[in-house]
Amino acid sequence: MAQAQSRTPSLAVPSSPHDHGGGSVSSVMTAVIIGLAPVSLYSVYLFGWPVLFLLVVTLAAGLATEAVMLRLMDRPVRPHLLDGSATVTCLLLGLSLPATTPWWIAALGAVFGIGVGKQLYGGLGANPFNPAMIARVMLLISFPKELSTWPAIKPLFSGQALSFSEGLGVTFAGDKTPALPPDAASAATPLGHLKTELTMNLTVEEILGQGYSHTQALFGSLSGSAGETSAVLVLLGGLYLWWRGVIGWRIPGSMIAGTAAMALVFNIYDPSAFPGVAFHLLNGSLLFGAFFIATDMVTSPTTPRGQLVYGAGCGVLTYIIRTWGGYPEGVSFAVVLMNAGVPLIDHYTRPRVFGKEQAGGPPVGSEE
């Protein structure tokens, strides 16, 4: 019996190691989706049905694009569609748009992000830029008005909440009247508000005195895109990802530190023109970007030192764009800009190899 078995010619003969830790791309992506869940659900609660429709539209358009592109490139469709990477991209894109974005803009973004931003570069793992952010940047440049119109908060189950059909109207018919009467059509985000008011020679203190508080930023009752709302929930999701080992501390840590350092320096230099550290950290999509966007594996460095450089670069650029740029928020631009530098960063931050002075260098202790 045993003899007969031994004559079977084909035992598997791969190279070592003959053991695997069990991780997979889909488990990584699933973890990211779970990490995004609190923010997404809260955002649906805050802005009502339109957010849900928005996410459904981006997901449908993105996944359809992924399937079509995979088919065109003659690659296996099912494993790649189910690996969850396209889902993550679409979720991130959806969450970075204003809740009232018309469906066609969202769909266009998803098609562009997946089709051009990811698949044209060669699909999973080959894209140099974060597909969600490249799509958002494209939309922001093409449709500045729609992308900077932030709806006022109308939580579900409250008196102001939009009904299902009103929600449909907002997303699919471009309805503004029932939901957003002209006078209260939109509420500026704290960052946007600050930017406009600063140009009117007001001081930071005067501006923020008009009804801003850090608590609101923490718990997300201020306007913004879906992912920007609650700093606490973003942190919660981020900590979950860190605990699962999906993200390291380096990129989020250095990105937050980068923005904080800039804010601190300029706030000390002139507190009336530059808001403080807490304001910069809690508002806009800095935390969301630090935990969910900049940490995108494909488009961030793999070396430990590289991750620190990249994160810090994202943080500093975010502050610069926020403060001196043309847009009130700069996370997406900062991330896309730093994406472009990733190959270079990776190349120059290779770790010191065991037994060598430096990567690719001479052995330790060698004279010269």
Partner: protein, 543 residues
């Protein structure tokens, strides 16, 4: 208890992983001696370096411990008869190698008496002196028992400019499943330490450190107990982290010394020996026995009765499996540990000196997860115990960019498998590095061969030119056949002629398919034209 007295040294190397150990399958099975099988297939290459040369022929009778293969060159080791019996053949036989190829093998039929050849035990090893001990260790065929199979005597001779002050006895055994070193340390600690003291004496080391992973606390206490009375020996526990058993990583963790890239541990004054090698040293010197058997862990989910067995070299794996109750649903057979061992094609090959484990994986354990593209997650960078950038090396090796992959320190890779273990995309990373390494080495060999050919052809050209000149000179001296000399200078280079003919032949071959007519043409042409030089026409005239 022992583990409370022994501080645990942390892993100083970067990265590393903590895989499931599976050691419980065999850690409580005492070493059992496997009866000598009726037929043994003893490979002549059981070590790194050149294969040994067979000293016996079919029909020879040998006794246990007789030399049947003598070492060939410096880095090589002799092979001894594992039992007494008759040599039936010297023939190729499946080697325990991932290629599944055959290697030269001595086939032996045991006579059942298992009688030793004359042994020369030297318990008073001091009288031999270091050189004498090294010679005996070489004659006993000792190689590294941790899996690499590097001849031991080479390691024991670090050279005059390298002073070794510390011996590290490697009881790391950080690979899953393997427990043979663990059992050896628990059951035969005195012999191991005796062997270690011989090694220490040979290289003149003052300090011997036995480093054992913290999960093997019985081994630690056994070794601690045995080390009483050996002042130069200390037993330390090291953190339980793969690849703690890797030579340079262990040396860093125990001594804080970093072995430079491309150098030997002796360059930082350390010699690293596996506990199994120390035990074999004891037997080789004190008992005078050459290396003919070792302890092997037979384990895995597909084997019925996992065990630690003391097995003669040359015993077919099939026989070993049968002694462990046989196997069922076998999907993969690994010689060595699951991280650096080789998968074998079937159970025919014999076990050899470097076989520290035989792991029978069930079919369900053979991976069939889809291989996805690299998502640059960086897990491999964090896991690498050498601080390489495995993801970049993967892309370069895959695209055959062999020069650039060497810039990424390919040859510093120890093939420990940490990167592939953590890879969420299931990429066979180590396979890519092995592929790149063997391609680069093959290219270097090809280059050497090409250089030799170039030198030979240049030498030939020079010779032909000289001959031609000499001939010319002679002819001019005769000053008779001026016309003939002119004709001679017109004749073409013989190789140009050959090239033209070869081209003609190929043209014809393209035109006609049958072989036979081709041959006819060749003969015809050979006869009709004849070779081009004067020298050759002389020859053909002779014919």
């Amino acid at each position: 208890m022992a583990e409370q007295h022994t501080p645990i040294l942390p892993a100083f190397f970067p990265g590393g992983i903590e895989p499931e150990e599976h050691k419980e399958l065999t850690s409580e099975s005492p070493i059992r001696r496997l009866p000598v099988p009726d037929v043994l297939h003893v490979p002549l290459k059981q070590h790194i370096g050149n294969p040994a040369q067979a000293l016996v022929k079919a029909g020879d009778h040998v006794r246990k411990g007789d030399v049947i293969g003598k070492p060939e060159g410096f880095v090589s080791a002799p092979v001894h008869a594992p039992t007494s019996g008759t040599v039936t053949a010297i023939e190729d036989y499946p080697a325990p190698h991932p290629s599944g190829l055959n290697g030269p093998t001595v086939h032996l039929e045991a006579d059942g008496r298992d009688e030793w050849t004359e042994l020369d035990p030297r318990p008073d090893f001091h009288k031999l002196g270091p050189a004498g001990i090294r010679g005996r260790i070489r004659q006993a065929g000792l190689v590294g028992m941790g899996g690499a199979g590097f001849p031991t005597f080479v390691k024991l001779n670090p050279g005059p400019d390298r002073a070794v002050d510390t011996i590290i006895l490697n009881g790391g055994e950080s690979e899953p499943y393997l427990t043979c070193d663990d059992r050896l340390m628990r059951e035969r600690p005195k012999e191991i330490l005796h062997g270690a003291s011989i090694i220490g004496y040979t290289v003149g080391a003052k300090r011997i450190v036995v480093a054992i992973e913290a999960n093997k606390w019985q081994a630690i206490s056994a070794m601690l107990g045995a080390s009483v009375g050996w002042p130069q020996i200390e037993v330390v526990a090291v953190e339980n982290r793969y690849p703690m058993g890797a030579e340079k990583q262990l040396i860093l963790s125990v001594t804080g010394r970093e072995v430079p890239s491309g150098r030997l541990p002796a360059d930082v004054g350390v010699l690293n020996q596996n506990v199994g090698t120390a035990y074999a040293t004891y037997r080789a010197i004190v008992l005078g026995e050459p290396l003919i058997e070792r302890v092997v862990t037979v384990s895995g989910e597909a084997i019925r009765e996992p065990a630690n067995l003391e097995v003669r070299f040359g015993t077919p794996i099939e026989t070993i499996a049968a002694a462990c109750g046989g196997y069922a649903d076998l999907g993969r057979l690994i010689m060595g540990g699951p991280f650096v061992g080789s998968a074998l094609h079937n159970t025919d090959p014999p076990m050899v000196k470097e076989t520290n484990g035989l792991i029978f994986h069930a079919r369900s354990q053979v991976p069939n997860e889809p291989v996805m593209p690299c998502i640059r997650c960086g897990a491999c960078v964090e896991a690498c115990p050498v601080s390489l950038v495995p993801n970049e090396m993967y892309h370069l090796a895959r695209n055959k960019e062999f020069e650039r992959v060497q810039d990424y320190d390919l040859f510093d890779c120890i093939e420990c498998g940490c990167c592939a273990w953590v890879c969420p995309s299931n990429l066979p990373l180590v396979h890519y590095y092995r592929y790149a390494k063997s391609e680069i080495q093959a290219k270097e060999r090809q280059k050497e061969v090409a250089d030799i050919a170039r030198r030979r052809t240049e030498a030939r050209d020079a010779r032909l030119r000289r001959e031609k000149e000499e001939k010319e000179a002679k002819r001019r001296a005769k000053k008779k056949q001026t016309d003939a000399a002119k004709a001679e200078s017109d004749t073409t280079d013989p190789r140009e002629e050959a090239a033209r003919k070869a081209a003609d032949k190929r043209r014809r071959m393209r035109g006609k398919s049958p072989q036979s007519s081709d041959d006819g043409n060749d003969a015809e042409e050979g006869d009709a034209e004849g070779p081009g030089t004067a020298a050759t026409s002389d020859e053909s005239n002779q014919r």
